[in-house]
Each structure stands twice: as C-alpha cells, then as structure tokens.
Amino acid sequence: MTGFLDNVLTGLALGAVYALVALGFVTIFKASGVLNFAHGSLLLLGGYLTAILHDDLGFAGALAVAVLVTAAVAGAMDRLLLQRGEQDPRTAHVQTIVTIGVDIVLVTDLARRIGGDLLSLGDPWGDAVTSLGPLTVADSRLAAIAVSALAIAAAFALFRFTPWGLSLRAAAEDAEAAALMGVRLTRIRTVAWCLAGGLAALAAVFLAAFPAPGLERTTGQIALKAFPAAILGGMASPAGALAGSLLIGLTEALVAGYQTELHVLGEGFGDVAPYAVMVLVLLVRPTGLFAAKGATRV
C-alpha cells in the first residue's frame, strides 16, 4: 500500500509540473488557435537563463529575469513571425508549422551552448525532502504543487474576471465578431503568448530541480509530455490542463512503479502509456475532459 501511495504522490507531483507546461499550451491555443511546438525550447531558454544568471543575481532575481525574457521572446515570436499578414484564424495551422521551425532554431542554439553539461538552477530546495508518515516527497515538488495550483487559479481568475480575459474568451468564441466589437485581437494574442512564455520559464525550474539532476539540453523535450495532458484536458480550459496533467503524471508514475507487473504489455510501455490514456479518454469524450462549450453545441 505504501508503494502505491508513494507512486500516487510521485505522480501528482510530476503532474503539477506538467500542468505549468500544459497551461502554457492551453493559453496560447485559446488565444490564437496555434499549437505551440516551440514551447519546449522556450522552456529550455528560461531554464538556461536562470542557470547562467543565478550566480550573479541570486535564484529569485535570475528567475525573474528568465521569466520576463522568455515572456518577451514568446511575445516577439508571436508578433514578428506568426502575426504577419492577415488576422485570419484559419492560418493557425500554418502558424503551428512555423512554431516547429522556431523550435528547431532555438533548440539548436541552446543545445550548442549547454553542450553536455548539467546546469544547476540554484533553486533553494536542494535535495531536501519532506516525510509524510511512510511517504517522502521532494520539497521542490511540493513547491511545484503549490506554484501550479496558484498559477492555475490565477489563470482561471484572469480568464474569468479581467477585461483581458473577457476579450480573450470573446476572441476565442468568434474572432471576427470580437474584432467588430472593438476587441484588439493582436494585443490579446501577444499578452497570451507572453504569459505562456513566462509559465514555461517557471516550469523549467521544477523540471530541472532535485529529483532531476539539473538542466540538460534535452530538458525541453520533457515539455512534450504535457501535450497529451493539454489535449485530453480539452485544449481550452485551465482546469482541463490541470486534470489532464495530473492524469498523465499519475499514469507515468504508476506505469514506471509497476513496470515489472506490466511487463506482459511489452517493453517500452511507459512511453506509450500517456498516449494510450489520451486515446482512451478521447474515445469516450472526443473533445477532451473539459472541452470548450462551443465545441459541443450544435
């Protein structure tokens, strides 16, 4: 039983980190209809900045700079590369492809800089753990749970209660009508991209912190695990992103924890498991767990 609870706790903590990434996917998708394949490299950029700056600025200072710079890069990417030409939601597919190109450029350069190093982000938690009875969990993961919960709540409040959130939802519902009502689509979009960029930088800290040994050139790839999370959450709601991420985190931890028992399913089942869960969920609810209402109304 302890083993099971241990796996559940590990999974929830992992899911909390994925949630920060998935929330970025969702925010961008909601605002622009683009699936941001460059999210992993934005995450790597944020992590890299924190890693190289923390000696001079301290952890908090470095993280603040990293969040701001990554947000600016994400915003600039949207403004300079993606929003060129007509404001047409139908070009979202093309823009999605463009993000793949941006990802390759960013990753190549960052990988060259990081090389084979394992960079420490100088986070304050170190390898400390907290014991809850027979269970132990890394402090960095407890922090990740707290930060994700805060970030999700803030995003929810932002979408729901601010003029920007209202405009965003209006634009997501019907961009043309929203524009006619005076919603400035360009600005709404760019703010959303900045927000997602900042979240990616924040997520990098938790992906590189203790149970992991530090920031590697491949850390950005881990962001792709949040893809099924965002998709099975419905791509459009922060709550969905959270639920999806927790589900994926749990799946991953349980599959790894019971690898021996699951051996009948073949080698490498762990890689497939998150996607298997995604497909199963989508079979039952084709639009995801928390799909946008518009998608289900006829």
Partner: protein, 425 residues
Amino acid sequence: MNVTHHRHRIPKAALAAALSALLIAGTGCSSKADGDGAGDSADGVKGGPGVTEKSIRLGALTDLTGPYATLGKSIVQAQQMWADETNAQGGICDRKIEIVVKDHGYDVQKAVTAYADISPDVVALPQVIGSPVVAALLDDIERDEVLTFPQAWAASLLGKDPVQVLGTTYDIDMIAAVDYLTRAKGLKKGDTIGHVYFEGDYGANALEGSKWAAQRAGLKVAGQEIKATDTDLSAQVSALRKAGVKAVLISAGPAQTASLVGVAASRGLRVPVVSSAPGYAPQLMKTPAAAALEAMLNVVSAAPAVSSDLPGVKRMVAAYQKKYPGSPVDSGVLSGYNAAQLLGADLKKACEKGSLAREDVVKAHRSQKNADTGLGTPQDFTDVSRPASVSTYVLKPDGKAVGGLVGVEDAHSAPGVEEYLSSNG
C-alpha cells in the same frame, strides 16, 4: 464564415515544405571521387586510401554539438595531442598523422553523410561516437575494411573484423559489478538487486550480463527500463524499494545516475549503486546529489581512473592539462588517447609488414595479442568474437580528484567471466 474553400492551401504548403526538404537532403548527399589510388610508393610501402608519401590520414566521426559533446571534445583533443606528439617524433612510417574530424551531433543521418564524405580518404577511424551511428555504418565499415574503434561497448559489435570494441563490453562490466557487490558489499544468496537500464543495445547487453551473474550468485534481478529523456527516477526508486533491493546496478547516462542516487538517498534507500562507465561524468559532482554519489556509488570500468598512479596515465594527464588548460580531464580523454595509441601501434606494425592498405592495417591489428599502452590493462585483439579485455577496475566518485573518480580496486577479471563467454559461444 466559409472555411472549405481555403482548405486546399494547407496541403500545398505542406507539399512545398516536403519538396524543399527533399531538395536540401539531395544536395547534402554529395558524392566524392574515390581517394588516391593504391600502389607502391618510393619507400616500398604499399599505400591505399588515406595514405600518401608524406601523410597518413585518419578520420573521426564525433559528436561536438549533441548529447555527447563533452565526451566528443575530450576525445578529439586527446587524439589530436597524440597526433602532434607522434608527428614531433617523426610520425609513423615516415609519414605525418592527420586526423579529419567530422561532427555528426549524434544524428545518424548526418553521420552517414559524413562517413560517405571522409571514408574514401582515410585509413582508419580511431573514433566513432554513438551506438546507433556505429550500427548504421556497420555494413559500410565492413565493406570498406576501415579499422574502426567505436566509442560504444555493446557485445553486438563483436565479431566484425574491422570493428574493434576497446576494453570490456557492457555485459562483462555488469558481471564484474555483481561480483563486487557480493564480495565487498555483503550481498548474499536470495537477495534482490535492481538494474536500471536504457532501452536499446547498451541496456540490453548490460542486463544480459547482470542476469547471468545474478543467477550464478543466487540473486534475483528487478529490472527497470528507462529512456534517455527520463531524468526524474522517483517512480523507479519507489518500485525498487518495493522490490526490496539490497543494491542497484545502473546502465544509463550521468543524469539518470545522479537522479537515481539522489532520490534513493533522500528516501532512505541507502544501498550500494554500481554504474557502467558511461553512467558517470565529473560534472555530477556539482549537482545536489554529489554527497549521495560519493557515499553510495561505484563505477566499473575497463579503464583506470584518470587520477590513477599509473605512470602512463600521469604523464598523459600532465601533457593534456598543459596543452588544453581549462578543459576537464575526463574518462573520454583517457579512452581517446588510448585508442589513438593502439591505432598507432597497428599502423607501425602494418608499416613493418610493408603495407598501409586498409585491409593490411586490419590484419596488423588482428595480430596484436598483447597490446599495452601503459594506460590500463593489456588487450588481445586476435579473437574477433571476444571482448579485447575482461579486466575491470572498480572506481568511486570523488569531487576533489582529477576526472572526479578515484580507484577502489585494481583491474582484475571477475570469476565466471570465462564461463559466461564460453556459454555465449
């Protein structure tokens, strides 16, 4: 809004992208004329590709921009240092040594192109990084008879005449690891050991060794397969703890070793952990797991620690630090320099026999029964289906030592290795 009439745009864009990708790929595959023809030179030594009157050209397919960039740089610099030293003493066979270095960034496709580019014009390849790269090039290497020292140690690479795995293979390392655990760490019949391993050749070969040795010692193995992107091994540690392991073997990369040991220590699973050589890098001593690594980890390796007292190693480390101040001296430096020296010995022998043609270099190599560079244990290259050495050192991490490792046990062959090799035929 009418969406349908715009739909045709997307396939067009995709088609354009696919076409341009094809074009780019097409231009990348440049073919090159075959190298200078064979034939006797003025000094009566038969030549071949990569050999001229004045020079012997070697090739390196390395990773300077990918995941093994640190390792690649170390090997390139160490082998260049060997070439410079050799040339300062007049070269080999009165010819200067040149090394052509190609970076493939751990991308198999780029490596294949790079091989096609340099292979017509080199005698041998003292460095090829990456198991998948070697696997993709095996047929070409065998056809071209280019003597190749891969920086990969899977037993599946044995049995090919021109391909020489230096030192021990992963399975032999793990047999030595299990032997060390039972001998020095008090593991007894009936105990369970965990084995965390990468998917693919590396892990599969290591697991073969650990399973065989465990069965022989009456131990059980709880395997945990992981992949290179897994850097948080919390769930694996939970599973190992549940299985009640008394020790853990790991055949993965440095990041995975750091996570495994760090997480295990923080959760009170303070058991000995033994890693294969590629699972450790001196950079780990700067991670939060450093203290736990020093307390719990051992590394089995065919090469001695860089901080070893062997005179050959000391001389090489001093020369390297002088030539490349600021570059870390890791195990790659040692293995790269060792490979270059062994190749130098092969070339000398081939020269004495009167031919530097590729196939004769391979023949000269296969006639070396006791190749000793003074950088570790002697190697026997005569049996193509056997690892060149079965002796391993046991090392442990030490943040203060050069290369981050110090010796624990000197090289020796683990009991049962011969039995294992003959049972594998």
